[in-house]
């Protein structure tokens, strides 16, 4: 197989469920996990005579997404009906948007695995209603239809075919996932179906600039499946073409158990959806004032925050990116800076020290047992030399374990305050040197490494509290060669 001869072209369609309380066109709840059909109201069921009324929160969410991606906001967006019959689609049509979506062209910076940034174009993002669910188990020869999910607001985010590999696709999807959570419009819960990915995949001979026939792999609900499904589909297409076959444009499903993609029974020979403007809904007008009010409700955008972290707080680019990817982490970091006035330390400690502990305990930063105020306290004491870096880690552990309310309290209670009294340190130094004549000989004989042995002994004797700088100074003075 000659992978090198082919170029992969991928575009993603992501369905992000908007984190509203009620449905996009009705006042029924969208809470997850309710009894079947207990959250399907007259409008969701498509009873005769019912009418849709648009949820403002869904509009605000979509506009926020547009602002976050620098996209055009549709000033007069139009809902259209997509007509097809399916039992999970109660009205026989899905209310979606076609010609005039709420969000137009935009762009997103995708941080890839190697840290490189790739820009991926966004074609559009439009609002639509979700369908219900068909359950095939439990009934002989029949399917059960649960319409609780019908009418849940979705933002369908469509990318340009700018993506060139499964890895890039995952990086892009993760970036969108992080963004919608960052701006708080989607909870991103993939198990519950709040974030679903469809991948349009085609291949073409490297160097060609015409697109090959694409297949659409539907409903990928984890990043791992997304990567796997694309790789498998690309292989399938290469095999097909190299054997002289043709790729047919179709919808495929990824089966994780068999680890293969399968053609969905072509839902309809000719999918003729007969889109037309929904006569029950009017054009949605969005003016400057509305956009401004959405902007005011938005957190500082990752891009601007990144610039502020690197420019004002003098963080390194990669460090800053690690912090801004997730809004809770960035917020925690900022709170730590506020409490400590130590941005460099704060970045390091949030990413590494606290980060490692959280990861080990499998906790999100929102669940951190140590809050930003507490961590800031530790870093303050580190900066003003009350404690050493090593002691600081002990203080953090003590805070984590709930042994005290603040760094100061723990330092006090455990007597961890650094010894900075020169006389006291000198006494310990003398004591250690006197107890290790052999090592003193070695050092004086030119063996520099032995200095570490002395420092270790001194720190041990001082229970780690001796100021390491002073220890070094004194040692060097006393062991003058």
């Amino acid at each position: 197989m000659s992978n090198a001869a082919w170029e992969t072209v991928i575009g993603l369609e992501i369905h992000a469920q908007m984190a509203t309380k009620s449905k996009i066109f009705s006042g029924a709840s969208i809470a997850f996990g309710a009894e079947p059909n207990s959250q399907a109201c007259a409008v969701d069921l498509g009873l005769p005579g019912v009418l849709p009324v648009f949820n403002q929160a869904a509009l605000v969410s979509a506009v926020k997404f547009g602002l976050a991606t620098g996209a055009e906001i549709g000033r007069k967006s139009v809902f259209a009906r997509k007509n097809y019959f399916y039992p999970d689609l109660p009205k026989g049509y899905q209310i979606s948007q076609l010609d005039h979506p709420i969000v137009g062209r935009g762009m997103i910076d995708v941080v890839q695995e190697d840290g490189e940034i790739k820009q991926v174009g966004l074609t559009r993002a439009h609002l639509e209603e979700d369908a219900g669910k068909s359950l095939h188990e439990n009934f002989v020869g029949q399917s059960g239809i649960d319409l609780n999910r019908a009418g849940t607001p979705l933002l369908e985010i469509v990318s340009e075919p700018d993506i060139r590999s499964a890895k890039e696709a995952v990086a892009y999807a993760r970036q969108i996932h992080a963004l919608v959570r960052y701006i708080d419009i989607c909870d991103g819960n993939m198990q519950e179906g709040s974030f679903r990915v469809d991948a349009n995949v085609s291949i073409r001979p490297r160097g060609s600039d015409t697109l090959g026939t694409r297949t659409e792999i539907k409903n990928l609900n984890s990043f791992r499946f997304l990567e796997r499904a694309i790789n498998i589909e690309v292989e399938r297409q290469i095999d097909l073409l190299e054997d002289g076959g043709r790729v047919s444009q179709e919808t495929r499903l990824y089966d994780p158990d068999a680890d293969e993609t399968r053609s969905m029974r072509s839902k309809e020979e000719a999918n003729d959806y007969r889109y037309f403007p929904d006569p029950d809904l009017l054009p949605v007008h969005v003016d400057d004032a509305f956009i401004d009010s959405c902007r005011e409700q938005m957190p500082e955008l990752p891009k601007l925050r990144l610039a502020r972290f690197t420019d004002e707080l003098a963080l390194g680019e990669s460090e800053a990116r690690q912090l801004i990817n997730d809004r809770a982490t960035a917020d925690f970091f900022e709170a730590t800076v506020a409490a400590s006035k130590q941005p460099r330390h704060a970045a390091n400690w949030v990413i590494n020290e606290l980060g490692a502990r959280l990861q080990k305990a499998d906790l999100g930063i929102e669940q951190s047992p140590v809050d930003a105020e507490q961590l800031g306290g530790v870093l303050q004491r580190l900066a003003d030399d009350t404690i050493s870096g090593k002691i600081a880690k002990q203080v953090l552990d003590a805070l984590w374990a709930g042994e005290g309310k603040s760094a100061d309290e723990i330092i006090e209670a455990k007597g961890l305050k650094q010894i900075t009294d020169t006389g006291a340190i000198e006494a310990i130094v003398d004591e250690v040197l006197a107890a290790s004549p052999e090592q003193v000989e070695e050092y004086l004989g030119g063996k520099d490494k032995v200095i570490g042995f002395f420092v270790g002994k001194i720190m041990q004797a001082s229970k780690g509290k001796a100021n390491p700088g002073q220890v070094n100074q004194l040692l060097k003075a006393k062991l003058k060669r």
Binding site: V53, F54, Y86, S143
Partner: protein, 95 residues
């Protein structure tokens, strides 16, 4: 425009309506006559006209995001042809 039998079959399928073989020619002829009326539109120059989807030039009102609907499943399913365990039943959906 003349509508052929195949068009009737296609549209009946798209609209999920069972039509009997015998009725198809009559439906074709009647559909053809209706579309003939529609074809009179072709003679009019409409290039400068904005399509009109609504009789009034109004904007979509927005609903406050509140949960206002109670669980009325029992009442709604009382008129359903086939339900079990709160689910609407249909012949097995094959995927």
């Amino acid at each position: 425009m003349a509508v052929d039998n195949k068009t009737v079959i296609d549209m009946a399928h798209l609209a999920r309506i069972a039509v009997s073989e015998d009725d198809i020619p009559k439906i074709a002829s009647q559909m053809g006559k209706v579309l003939e009326i529609a074809e009179k539109m072709a003679a009019v120059d409409t290039d400068h006209l904005e399509p009109m989807a609504h009789p009034l030039d109004a904007a979509q009102p927005l609903r406050v995001d509140d949960v206002t609907e109670a669980d009325l499943r029992e009442a709604f399913q009382a008129v359903a042809p086939s339900v079990d365990k709160g689910l609407y039943l249909v012949p097995k959906v094959i995927e």
